[in-house]
């Protein structure tokens, strides 16, 4: 039974894990890079240790240093969060070897699910449906792949065996264009992952990205907590998630949930994990991959089920049985999460860095904000641009959308540009409201500019605001030049003078 948890992560997820630890009375150890001395997770934790310079490879990816800190601080468990070392089999193994509990699956399960080819073969053996594609995914040559392609059928996808994030992925419409695309996919995979191996998969058109949250304990119990709809993506990065999905009914949920449980059992899974599926228009679904960690979007599941997933993770890691059986899991209402990123939606989603000058978070009924930033905190270009997750709950999906609109308008972040206007526009989109979208919706059928055109416009208000701001600036500048000419009352003059000299 462990007493102190080292959180090998940063930002909002580190804060999220510290909160759960504190609620169950566990000690917490934060680690941080030089850029994160001011970060919230460092301030919230019981203990904090410096890892090294800002770049992740010199700090949050330094397994050796993290293990040293664990030993030095007497932490007897490690929570990896998501990203960084969360899906590194060698890190999980290093914890096991050092006699420290890794809050997550066994190294063997991370390994089995980490390699897409092995994962595919493993679940196929367990009778889980996969997207039709090359079965023998070892080292297939271009000739082998070209021979197999017509049997899979076009359009198809070339994917990197070690892939992720869309790297080394190519869409092939006809056999003629395939040789050139194979070359470029291999080249990209080689440079991104140091592994040029690729395989083929049928392209499922009009597909949704649906994932199931899985929980498994050491006593053989495996349950699912329902699905999350993650089709709202841009360049393979999720922007918004919701639960339940507007595309699922109770039957389909039960069916997919059972398959998800089976997939987890196939690798003797332990702790929290996520099974990703593609769902086509005819309700056919295919296993895509398994994420062997806590997900960014876990709060939407927490909100509709009332289950604290991180606390359950701690409980499972302590060797106890889960607090819930499958029949105890009930879903109430609908939850939506918007990822708030420091990027400018009006300027090609260009990353925006700088100091957060002010942050007014939305509150009120049914609103949750998971964040690691606060006024005075510096957003640096070293890490991922997500600065907060805004999660709302509503009795129905429509209520949740209305609440999200309200919350987005309340959210004020000053200092960096954010993608909040993108989410606001999405909330007004008829196709989003109708639940009519697939994974290509944002990139192919949603344009911020077009959507904004149809929105309620207030040109005169914008004109008044801009002019008043410009006028204010001219007045201030003039005041500095004409110091002796007091055009206002003495009190006002004193106020201006103080403002200038602050």
């Amino acid at each position: 039974m462990f007493k102190k948890v080292l959180i090998a992560n940063r930002g909002e997820i580190a804060v999220r894990i510290i909160r759960a630890c504190r609620e169950v009375g566990l000690g917490t150890v934060a680690v941080y890079s030089e850029a994160d001395r001011q970060a919230l997770h460092v301030r919230y934790a019981d203990e904090a240790y410096l890892l090294g310079p800002a770049p992740a490879r010199e700090s949050y990816l330094r397994m050796d240093k993290i293990m040293d800190i664990a030993k030095k601080s007497g932490a007897d468990a490690v929570h990896p969060g998501y990203g960084f070392l969360a899906e590194r089999e060698d890190f999980a193994q290093a914890c096991v070897d050092a006699g420290i509990i890794f809050i997550g699956p066994k190294p063997s399960a991370i390994a089995a699910m980490g390699d897409k080819a092995v994962a595919r073969a493993t679940v196929v053996k367990a009778g889980v449906p996969v997207v039709p594609g090359t079965e023998d995914v070892g080292n297939m040559t271009n000739e082998d792949l070209l021979a197999v392609a017509p049997r899979i059928g076009f359009p198809l996808l070339i994917k990197a065996t070690a892939g992720g994030g869309g790297k080394g992925m190519r869409e092939v419409r006809a056999i003629e264009e395939m040789p050139a695309l194979l070359m470029s996919a291999r080249r990209e995979a080689e440079s991104a992952f140091g592994d040029g191996n690729v395989y083929l998969e049928k392209l499922v058109e009009g597909a949704r990205h649906i994932e199931f949250q899985i929980m498994a304990d050491a006593h053989g119990s495996v349950i699912h907590l329902g699905e999350r709809e993650c089709s709202i993506q841009r360049r393979h990065q999720k922007l918004l998630e919701e639960s339940p999905s507007p595309a699922l009914n109770e039957d389909l949920r039960a069916k997919m949930g059972a398959v998800a449980v089976k997939s987890a059992q196939a690798v003797e899974y332990l702790n929290a994990g996520t099974i990703e599926f593609l769902l086509d228009k005819n309700d056919n679904f295919y296993f895509l991959e398994m994420n062997t960690r806590l997900q960014v979007e876990h709060p939407v599941t927490e909100v509709v089920t009332g289950i604290d997933i991180v606390k359950e993770q701690l409980r499972i890691a302590r060797g106890r049985s889960m607090s819930y059986k499958q029949e105890d899991v009930k879903w109430t209402g609908a939850a939506i999460e918007c990822r708030v990123n420091a990027e400018d939606p009006f300027n090609g989603f260009m990353p925006s860095t700088g100091q957060i000058v002010q942050s007014i978070q939305p509150t009120g009924p049914g609103v949750r904000v998971d964040t690691g930033v606060y006024p005075g905190f510096e957003i640096t270009p070293y890490y991922d641009p997500m600065i907060a997750k805004l999660i709302v709950w509503g009795e129905t999906r429509a209520q949740a959308i209305l609440r999200m609109r309200r919350a987005l308008e309340e959210y004020r972040i000053v200092g960096v540009r954010t993608n909040i206007p993108f989410h606001q526009t999405l909330m007004d989109s008829h196709r989003f409201m109708g639940g009519q979208f697939d994974t290509r919706f944002v990139e192919e059928r949603f344009s911020l500019e077009d959507a904004v055109e149809n929105k309620e416009s207030h040109p005169e208000i914008a004109v008044a605001l801009a002019t008043l701001v410009a006028h204010q600036q001219t007045q201030r500048a003039a005041q500095i030049v004409r110091r002796n000419e007091r055009d206002a009352s003495n009190w006002r003059w004193v106020g201006r003078w103080e403002r200038m000299h602050r």
């Binding site: 002010q358 004020r412 526009t425 208000i461 605001l465 002019t467 403002r499």
Partner: protein, 165 residues
């Protein structure tokens, strides 16, 4: 004070009458305008309706972010407008190129030195942002001047990096 404010090619004549009243294209509007000091957040109550918005200054003018929509505006007073009209044609070809950071990032290397002769297309600077390395090239032949950054430094978007004269 009178201003000409342009939005989407349309001009509005705005007159600041006093603290409580402005006129937009001849229509008098009751206003109450408050700014949060040092921040681009402004609150405007106009004829009883309350609006809150961000107003950012850019090189081109002002950007107003209001209820999820971004407006690009320019504001000129009458004198500025007249000046611009007389300056008119022929301006803006000084021949000097000022390289600014197109995005925030880290300066990886600067393969040129101040005073170096460079050719069009030659790499001036390599900028890393969100794990991508970007080569910033010279758009003209000339001499490197006013090198303002060093390798290893982080820069903000639109920060001046160097000039080619």
């Amino acid at each position: 004070m009178k201003y000409i404010t342009s939005l989407d090619g349309k001009e509005y004549l705005v007159e600041i009458l006093d603290d409580r009243r402005i006129s937009v294209n001849g229509q008098i509007q009751e206003i109450d305008f408050v700014s949060v000091r040092g921040q681009p957040v402004h609150s405007l109550i106009m004829n009883g309706k309350s609006y809150e918005s961000y107003v950012y200054e850019t090189e081109e003018g002002l950007q107003v972010l209001l209820r999820g929509r971004l407006y690009n505006l320019t504001v000129e007073d009458e004198r500025e407008k007249r000046l611009r009209a007389t300056a008119g044609a022929g301006a803006g070809t000084s021949g000097e190129f000022n390289l600014k950071a197109p995005m925030p990032g880290l300066i990886v290397s600067i393969p040129v030195n101040e005073g170096d002769q460079v050719e069009k297309g030659q790499v001036l600077l390599i900028l890393e942002s969100m794990k991508m390395q970007n080569e910033l090239k010279s758009p003209k032949n000339g001499t490197v001047a006013r090198l303002r950054v060093k390798p290893g430094e982080t820069v903000e978007q639109r920060q001046a990096l160097l000039s080619v004269t």
